[in-house]
């Protein structure tokens, strides 16, 4: 998908839609309205990424930003509607907020475009790391530059990102609903109520139709990331989406137990193992070179996808599982 360098009506209208939807989301009256508008914003943002020429980010925004975050917010906003005693926002507050935000945004935009238009090197030098990245990508064993950058050239960033996910998953495990304590805190609801209502047949049919398709899509995204837009993050988020779908529809029941905790730890441990492997085999820490680089990258991506899926699903289970 090649971007055009000058802006046409498509990009302009998308950008306008982004700003308008964001303003509507931020200043909405009800929680659920804000959440649904946030989903719409995510769709617009994902299309915008695609039109700009960043298809990996578009895929990630669609699956992670709209799918998983939408499920998280949607579930919470549905079970926690805004309580009646909150102060209603006044028109003056809304206008002041919009004006102040637009002012800050305009100032920031002005400085950014001034700074971005003046490249630091000589006038003939291309700005950015595209040249160096494109030259180094063939040595990484994968063809797609984003995957090469993520898992090889900037693999330290990805390792730290997995640590951030692990921290989020740790919070999820700490707040995980205990199947035995749930009945004692809120007035004696029997433990069998934890199962939730049985799924209506249309939902069961829908899940049995869609879940295998999304699983296949996740596996395809994982392996397509070597040559096309895709990769471990989008695949992991699709996995998490399947788990969330199965959990919320009532078709299955997932728990944060020892099996899931193993999956959560696997990502960071595998990454550290790859790093140490580089050290042991004579290179530097986390340096991945040579004829096995592609295979190791894909194997690492598989493990990362499973961990990302488990982490996001664990976060959802922890936020959705508390008794009312």
């Amino acid at each position: 998908m090649s971007p055009e360098t000058t802006v046409g009506p498509l990009q302009l209208s998308l950008a306008l839609a982004l700003i308008v939807t964001a303003a509507a989301t931020l200043y909405s009256r009800h929680r659920l309205t804000g959440v649904v508008l946030f989903l719409v914003f995510g769709v617009f943002l994902s299309i915008y990424w695609g039109v700009i020429g960043a298809p990996d980010v578009a895929l990630a925004e669609a699956v992670i930003g709209t799918g998983v975050t939408g499920a998280l917010f949607g579930y919470t906003a549905t079970v926690m509607p805004r309580p009646a005693h909150d102060r209603r926002g006044s028109i003056a507050r809304t206008i002041a907020g919009l004006a102040g935000g637009a002012g800050i945004g305009a100032g920031l935009g002005y400085f950014l475009t001034r700074a971005a238009a003046a490249p630091p090197g000589g006038s003939g030098e291309p700005v950015g790391l595209t040249g160096q990245a494109t030259a180094a990508v063939p040595a990484t064993g994968v063809e797609h530059p984003i995957t090469g950058v993520l898992l090889n050239l900037r693999s330290y960033d990805t390792l730290m990102e997995m640590v951030v996910l692990l921290s989020a998953a740790t919070v999820a495990v700490a707040f995980a609903p205990r199947s035995d304590a749930g009945s004692s805190t809120r007035g004696g609801a029997p433990a069998s109520e934890q199962r939730g209502p049985a799924a209506p047949p249309i939902v069961r049919g829908f899940v049995s139709l869609v879940a295998p398709v999304v699983l296949l899509f996740a596996a395809w995204l994982l392996f397509a990331g070597s040559t096309q837009p895709g990769g471990a993050f989008q695949a992991g988020a699709a996995l998490a989406a399947v788990m969330i779908l199965v959990q919320t529809s009532g078709v299955g029941r997932l728990r944060i137990g020892p099996a899931m905790i193993c999956l959560l730890l696997l990502g960071v441990l595998a990454f550290i193992a790859v790093g140490l492997g580089g050290l042991v085999l004579g290179d530097a820490w986390l340096l991945l070179r040579g004829e096995h680089a592609g295979t190791v990258t894909i194997a690492l991506e598989c493990i990362l996808a499973v961990t990302i899926g488990a982490s996001l699903a664990a976060v959802f289970l922890a936020s959705a599982g508390r008794r009312r």
Binding site: T6, F38, F73, G148, L153
Partner: protein, 111 residues
């Protein structure tokens, strides 16, 4: 049409979005709205990042990879925020235990 490059449009959109969402983040009281504003601030920042990447012709892969990382981190902290918001709400809500008293008054006054 206006002579505007894609990179500049993305930078302006990202800046406006960040400004709007940041102001809302700092002023709103409702916790869920605050989380949504935080998420939108993150989205605006990523737009700025990719806007800087769009300055070169095959869009620069390094800031794109960082934006991808940013999206995953955004969902991670949004999830943690939601877990905490649920826990805070559970504690604030008066418990319907046998003695019938509302336990949530102190927390509600501080919200």
């Amino acid at each position: 049409m206006i002579e505007l490059s894609v990179a500049s449009l993305t930078l302006w959109t990202g800046a406006l979005l960040t400004g709007l969402a940041l102001v809302r983040l700092l002023t709103v009281e409702d916790l869920i709205a605050r989380l949504i504003a935080l998420n939108l601030t993150g989205g605006g920042t990523l737009l700025i990042l990719v806007g800087l990447a769009a300055r070169t012709e095959p869009v620069d892969p390094v800031p794109q990879a960082l934006a991808l990382t940013g999206i995953v981190i955004t969902v991670a902290f949004t999830g943690v925020g939601l877990i905490l918001v649920r826990a805070v709400d559970d504690d604030e809500r008066p418990s319907r235990s046998a003695d019938g008293r509302a336990h949530g008054h102190d927390e509600e006054a501080n919200a």
